[in-house]
């Protein structure tokens, strides 16, 4: 049985807590959140205690730590938990600053604890199926990868201001997916972006619509597109073209029901947002993390992966400033 301490009792924290509760080999022992009411509610629901971070990390009964608190607290908690000898899974990003993220990864390595970054999409069964079939050679050598990612609506402008910007907050998931599916590290990044949805986003020095091209050493190319708005729900698609064919992962929809009427054949929209679309991915991510702790294997997505995705985001920002393809 793995005993968990969880930092963060918000929206994603609630998901992790429930998944821990439903996992046969896990138990949620402690919840830590500066919002005591939230901590108490979550802890109460799952029979956990509440505590402060210092005491929680000092508790020898705790094996594993989930960090689902606010982004600015991630780096400090990762280092503290690692130094306390706990296995750590941290929501992305470890830190908006790449050197700080690197430092965290280094601490975890030194302390010999597993550090996993919450790139939940790697655990989506559809994307995983694409990855497996590519590794099995179904499409032969990869030539072109296309990643489409559209949020239903822009986040609150206050969130935008502290998010690190679209490339580090949103497209970072796609950079990680690209690295994983390309199977090699991109060496060149070009980015173009616009403010088309809300001028306040531009005033916050961010963009809401963006496209990126990555080039891999083999010559394989990758197209990424992001939009902060999609009238039809959360749009998450991937397509990979290779010598022998193409793999496509379509959206996961609300139901298989369609209505055929005078206006056409109307089928259901994609699931509304990441909590619904990636519910299964979050479950499988936790299960993988527990497997890592039990087996001692390396996590599928570690601290270094967080750093490398951030490096692509930084390169995209530089490309945006310079109008040039940027070497990574």
């Amino acid at each position: 049985m793995i005993d968990f301490c969880q930092f963060g009792a918000g929206r994603i924290g609630a998901i992790h807590a429930r998944n821990i509760r439903n996992h046969p080999n896990a138990k949620l022992r402690i919840v830590v959140d500066p919002d005591h009411g939230a901590a108490e509610r979550l802890a109460g629901r799952y029979g956990a205690a509440i505590s402060n971070g210092t005491d929680a990390l000092a508790d020898p009964a705790i094996n594993a730590v989930v960090i689902a608190s606010s982004t600015d607290s991630h780096a400090g908690l990762v280092e503290a938990a690692a130094r306390a000898g706990k296995a750590v899974v941290c929501e992305k990003p470890i830190d908006l600053d790449r050197r700080q993220a690197e430092a965290c990864a280094a601490v975890a390595r030194e302390c010999g604890v597993p550090l996993m970054v919450g790139f939940n999409r790697r655990f989506d069964p559809n994307f995983e199926r694409i990855e497996q079939q590519m590794r099995d050679g179904r499409i032969g050598r990869l030539e072109l990868l296309m990643i489409t990612s559209r949020d239903p609506d822009p986040p609150p402008i206050e969130y935008v201001r502290h998010s690190g910007g679209l490339f580090r907050d949103m497209m970072i998931h796609d950079f990680d997916m690209a690295r994983w599916l390309l199977g090699e590290e991109p060496v060149e990044v070009f980015a173009a972006a616009s403010v088309l949805i809300d001028s306040a986003i531009g005033e916050a020095d961010d963009v809401d619509t963006a496209v990126v091209i990555l080039r891999a050493p083999s010559g394989a190319l990758c197209q990424i597109s992001n939009s902060r708005r999609s009238a039809y729900g959360y749009d998450q698609r991937i397509e990979a073209l290779g010598a022998k064919g193409a793999l496509r992962a379509e959206n996961v929809v609300e139901s298989t029901v369609s209505f055929a009427g005078a206006d056409g054949i109307i089928s259901d929209k994609p699931l509304p947002f990441f909590l619904e679309r990636y519910a299964e991915a979050y479950r499988r991510e936790l299960d993988h993390f527990i497997g890592v702790i039990v087996s001692g294997a390396a996590p599928l997505v570690g601290g270094e992966d967080g750093v490398k995705a951030l490096a692509l985001a930084d390169a995209a920002l530089e490309s945006l400033r310079t109008g040039r393809a940027v070497k990574v």
Copy 2:
């Protein structure tokens, strides 16, 4: 908190036990199964005790009983549980004999306990969406209902011999679905059937491929087809045509990934069988049952529904013998 006793520690029992465990308002207290090893394993996994039926039903701490044992034990357990004042959810069928099933429903009524029959498909989110949209008038008056139901493979011949036959064992789900979606009681049944898959099924006096036509008082017609074999997995589709359009529920598939290659565009098959396809339905069925206990409302699908579906199965058998449409 609702405290459960469950009869049956087999394949379906395992599903119910896990769903009880994951439900915030339920607790599995007692597991009963003549196979003590199975009972112990299941009880052990979820922190329940094992017991015998008599003691379990006498336990005043038990509020609710799940009957997932062998079919021939259902009727006796339903009556005993009802007389002990427990809320009962029983896997279909209550009994292969319609009068016996009627007697069970009567006992539950007398004892004032809710009796719910495990027609799990009513809780499938896709079929429920069809039902809701029909009730909301989306297709106007229903004219034609088509239900397609194909198992991946025939059951063991030993099972076939005691199953009551395809109409009472398999198509009974479709009869219930037809009653629910038609919104009126069918008055006429015609059946045709063949043995095409395994001659041993014919030797056991059963059929493996069957089609039925139901007629409702309004004139609405319903086509049902069943096959005991489907090379591509569990095929479960419904289509409803009305004055203003048609609703279709397509299969739930293993993933949204497709492969485009020299042989065509290959997409994933339907989920393999009912455990996978109706996993969500079983969860929602349990949740509904708990809601019934808490609120005192009538279950969506009660003892009478079990009896009426059985009456349609019996009429189909008579139609098969006589070559005539049979009035119900």
Copy 3:
């Protein structure tokens, strides 16, 4: 070069005339229609002459006759054309009376001319692909065939009165399709039907919604459903289940464009009616007919096929009257 005389300058006649015009080995020479204006317009468009039936059939330059005139004229024209030694393609039905249709087929046999019946759907590329793949053994032995056929709207009530009724006018196409795809002659027919769309159809002693079950000697079963109304256009689907899998032909739609918006994913409807849906089938039917004339091979669908489809329609009507499955 095959020189054609065509009887009938109406809606279907226009299609045949254009297809003759566009065929490299055919020439439309004569158009005959009691409506002289219609005959002149059609003939003028394609450089043909107009004439009366007697002269046209006496013209030794004419090799082939298309009969696309009103149903009650078919039988007489078939016989006259056959006796004049012309190859004949006749729109379905040859006659509403089965003995009369048989007599026509006999005359054509005696005269040694090819007589082809316009069951255009056999030439639809999608249905032909299903037939080919079945003959190639892709699904193994056929177990269950499902044919869905829905017109967009009921025909004018005046048409209904002289149509011979839904089974002989509309479902006759499905009976032919069933015979073709089953690959054996059905031996039993059961029918149920209702008047749900327009009570005037009932007053004309016809039905507007109908379902039929056919049984073949092998035990293979066939479900047919027909409706005279479909809010979403012309619905024409076929599904065949066999030991090794299933083949499905979906509708042909107006475009491949879909719109994803707040109300769902809206894709285009099926093509509106038979003129559009079977445009390619009509072209290929004509091409097949010309091939028959040139090669001397038997047509894919001859006079006997018209008779046998009519026998199934008659059996369906008898089943409707008696409530029994009728042996054919």
Copy 4:
């Protein structure tokens, strides 16, 4: 009646000749091709004469000229035909050299004859539907356009050497489509490309896999991808995202038939190549051209459009050389 002279009796010439033959208001009078055998065969099939270019253009009976000859002859023929006062439709490109193409457009303007460029895809019913719905405001302001274009196989290396390269030969169609659907002129082009399919293509100083980003003055972005190989046939898709939703045009497939078996659900591939996929577009293109001649309206896609698409191709090549986004 419009009387045509056609230059070129090859693969595309055969399509145009047949479409002229089947058009009610057109007649193919003269075929010109340096390969006299090919010219004779094509002319013979449609009752046309053969001639040389000079005589043909001098023939006052000719109203319209189709130029479907080899690319290096286009510019000369356009100018000669324009000076002879004929309406001209010329297969793309008018010339690989942008100034030469501009000169041709200028001559046509001076001579007051319509000059239409064969960007056939604008006449594809699916893409036209997307354009119409965008103009009708269905998706609101356009934010992101995605164009996917994959040939089934690379052309012969000899063709590659004289093609002007992927951007001017293949992606030029997508540049035209982008201009049309954006509804504004792109101002910035970035390109990345690789040789992944055949190293001989690289030795011919060309690429076989390419991605491009266009930026429009409004900030709208466009992603284009091209590949010279697609194991599953000719892949031609477009997607447009706007404020109110997205429009997608999927591939046109060989049939609507799918096979469900043990390996999955296998549906048919896209049509094999442009001759099949754009058969309807070629018909509608000719019909539009004839309408232009009759009505005096400007063609949907004129000489200037050919020049502007070429300018985008040239900018893409420059971006490829410099690694920078190039202003247009």
